[in-house]
């Protein structure tokens, strides 16, 4: 007879909850889409299990049981570019990558700069396999000219604002945005890339761009943008979040700002943690075209160090789907961006954990508790009564990234063919298994 006391129990896994500082083999009991309790093995727990049906038990022996992962930088493309991704397909990709919550960027068509579009996304997301939090636009139509109705957006549920894809180039406009956002205690997320210095650059400016004759965008374009915004953050005492940090100069600037006590947070993408710009010359793979561009080895090492020492708060994929048609072209006309939801866990395991740079607990923290904290999202921990968003990871599972296995509608990953270790085994969102 099935137990009515619990809906689901995850047995024998190693439970890691960085929020609680927990890291033991334990059993996770779920009831009514909430975490009921976590207990280490004992005679009474074993006894309790006897009343369960097999269908209620997930055996997680040899697996990691962690809070559902959170990605605060995702492009779901709907509305407007459903050929590349939809809210539904993007959330299935998220679930496959272990993410139970994603924050979607506003650069859709139309832009998410008004209540109706927020509502549209929220409605579409109701049946999706991940929680979708909307990030609204800073300025109307992401044109950098006039503030969007930020109060309306927040009222509707937007958790932050950004003009992602575009830097708010006018410093006065950025100042107003920071000041205005302070009323709602939301961070302003900035795509930090000075457009004048970037000057149409399509890859990192380095000897690689020199070799290939491809127009380079200097690291200084990001550094200047970050330094300016830090100055504005100091001026306005508002919350600033730097998206996809890619340069050593930006990491240094953020480190200093944090030491000063400014309310600055930052994220880094898996690709900036793993790749360097010398990959591009091999075959002009358009899947390596991304903004900000993948940088030099020194920059890559600096963002890794920044993540390790806490300068960078969290890992975010900047999942940016583009169709094959859009990417199958000359390098310099390919749209920037790569998908990332389904490869993040494997990349972090293979390139950070296996190399002894970070522990599982640290990586999980940067993908759960810390991003949740930045945006005040529920979840990101396994405390009693929390929503049952749980990711189970097979930590040493070896796999090869295969384009045909992606659940995302788009296949634009430069990691296709990579041999990775560490894969999501099951994802549970709101008490339901959404990926296995």
């Amino acid at each position: 007879m099935a137990s009515k006391k619990y809906d689901l129990v995850i047995t024998n896994g190693r439970v890691i909850d960085p929020a609680l500082g927990f890291g033991k083999d334990a059993f996770v009991f779920i009831k009514d889409a909430r975490i009921k309790k976590i207990e280490v093995e004992s005679a009474s727990v074993r006894n309790e299990l006897k009343s369960f049906d097999d269908s209620q038990i997930i055996d997680a022996s040899g697996k990691l049981v962690v809070p559902g992962l959170i990605d605060i930088h995702v492009h779901l493309r709907e509305p407007g570019r459903e050929g590349a991704e939809t809210i539904d397909s993007g959330c299935r990709a998220a679930a496959a990558g272990g993410f139970t919550s994603v924050c979607c960027m506003p650069n859709t068509t139309p832009r998410i700069d008004n209540q109706e579009t927020v509502k549209f996304v929220q409605d579409r997301a109701k049946t999706a396999s991940a929680r979708v939090y909307v990030v609204g636009a800073i300025t109307k139509n992401i044109e950098g000219k006039q503030l969007a109705e930020i109060g309306d957006l927040v009222k509707m549920g937007a958790v932050a604002i950004t003009d992602d894809g575009h830097y708010v180039q006018d410093p006065n406009m950025m100042r107003r945005a920071l000041e205005y956002a302070r009323m709602f205690d939301i961070p302003v997320m900035q795509h930090a890339e000075d457009k004048y210095l970037c000057d149409g650059g399509i890859m990192n400016e380095s000897f690689q761009s020199t070799r290939l004759g491809l127009k380079g965008s200097p690291a200084a374009a990001e550094e200047i943008a970050v330094l300016r915004d830090i100055a504005l953050c100091r001026l306005t005492r508002s919350r600033l979040h730097i998206q996809h940090v890619s340069t050593k100069g930006a990491v240094d600037a953020i480190r200093q700002a944090k030491a000063e006590g400014l309310r600055v947070t930052a994220e880094v993408t898996p690709h900036h943690l793993v790749l360097t710009d010398d990959e591009i010359g091999k075959e002009f793979n358009t899947n390596l075209r991304v903004n900000p561009p993948i940088r030099s080895e020194a920059d890559r090492d600096a963002v890794v160090a920044g993540l390790v020492d806490g300068t960078i708060d969290c890992i975010a994929s900047d999942h940016a789907p583009h169709t094959d048609e859009d990417k199958d072209c000359e390098f310099d006309i390919a749209p920037p961006g790569m998908i990332g939801l389904e490869t993040t866990v494997g990349l972090m395991k293979t390139f950070l954990i296996d190399k002894g740079i970070m522990s599982w607990a640290d990586v999980i923290r940067k993908m759960t508790y810390d991003p949740a904290h930045i945006l005040g999202l529920p979840g990101g921990n396994l405390s009693e009564g929390a929503p049952a968003d749980i990711t189970i990871i097979d930590p040493d599972k070896r796999w090869t990234v295969n384009a045909s296995k992606f659940l995302s509608r788009s296949k634009n990953s430069p990691f296709i063919g990579y041999k990775l270790s560490g894969k999501v085994y099951k994802t549970i969102m709101n008490g339901k298994i959404v990926f296995e």
């Binding site: 070799r211 491809l214 072209c329 390098f331 310099d332």
Partner: protein, 311 residues
């Protein structure tokens, strides 16, 4: 019997000394063919070559076209001035359509670096890079090397100065790699705004003072300075460019006695080069044009018939 190590000519960065040698030696024969009364051999009879030009080009296209005609190839010219950024037919669709017409070789000129490589991924034809973005222009560098070698009977040990827009010039990149592979020493000279990031990593001496750069050099290869660079704010005026970097008779005194003046054309007389220099006795600018055909014939000949091999 001999063969190039690749069935395409995409650039000189990875082309070996042996391959460059083979192309230059073969060009020697074709140079003789274009001096004949009947400047035509039947070698590429039955081979169809497409000249796929996505950028306006008169010289390179005519040179390739004549080279192809002199080898008795069938020729199709596909020129489009429309920018590829504008959404038309994709490059892949265009070349697959062309290939479906049963063609054998493609000479491609394209504004995007890497476009010739992209073509090798779309079709089976032999691909010859006729200039891609600011990346490479291998046949121009080969004809430059041929012209230098013809005069000095060697490339090794010569000092060649490349003057101009180092940042945007594909001719310069191909020349750097080719000349260095052949053992020449290469110096680069141009305004600091037109020197690309980490330019020293090419392994060349880099100058912003043209007089210093010319000191003790054998060959000066002068690049056209594009007006659009001035409009882009990369140098103040053509007048100032001429003053600082223009090659004048006065400046030639710094060169070795048996010096050579080169320019891939078209020239801005009075800007990067004075007429006195361009038309002087040490100028081989017109020889470059003639030799270009021989070199292109050699490349076409050596790549022809190489189909479907393992790369």
């Amino acid at each position: 019997m001999s063969r190039l190590s690749s069935r395409h000519l995409l650039g000189l960065e990875e082309t070996s000394q042996e391959d460059i040698q083979l192309i230059l030696n073969t060009a020697e024969t074709f140079r003789e063919v274009i001096d004949r009364t009947i400047k035509r051999v039947p070698t590429l009879r039955g081979i169809t070559v497409v000249n796929l030009f996505y950028e306006p080009s008169t010289r390179t296209r005519i040179s390739f076209e004549l080279a192809e005609k002199r080898l008795s190839a069938d020729i199709v010219n596909f020129s489009t001035s429309t920018s590829s950024v504008k959404k038309g037919e994709s490059l892949r669709d265009t070349v697959q359509n062309i290939e479906a017409m049963k063609i054998d070789m493609v000479v491609v000129r394209h504004g995007s670096a890497g476009a010739p490589y992209f073509l090798t991924q779309c079709m089976d034809a032999n691909i010859i890079n006729g200039g891609d973005g600011s990346h490479e222009h291998p046949t121009q560098a080969l004809l430059d090397m041929y012209t230098i070698r013809k005069k000095y009977k060697k490339l090794k040990g010569l000092r060649v100065v490349l003057v101009g827009d180092i940042k945007h010039s594909r001719v310069i990149r191909s020349n750097i790699w080719g000349l260095k592979t052949m053992g020449a020493s290469v110096a680069l000279c141009g305004p600091a705004t037109l020197l690309p990031y980490d330019v020293e990593k090419f392994g060349c001496d880099v100058y912003t003072d043209v007089d210093e750069a010319l000191d003790g050099a054998d060959v000066v290869n002068i690049m056209r300075i594009q007006l659009e660079r001035q409009q882009g704010g990369l140098f103040p005026s053509q007048r100032e460019y001429a003053n600082l970097f223009g090659i004048t008779k006065e400046r030639l005194k710094r060169l070795n006695r048996n010096y050579t003046i080169m320019h891939p054309g078209p020239m801005n007389r009075g800007v990067e080069i004075t007429s006195e220099v361009a038309d002087g006795k040490n100028s081989v600018i017109l020889d470059q044009v003639t030799n270009g055909q021989a070199v292109r014939m050699a490349v076409l000949y050596l790549l022809s018939g190489r189909k479907g091999e393992e790369e």
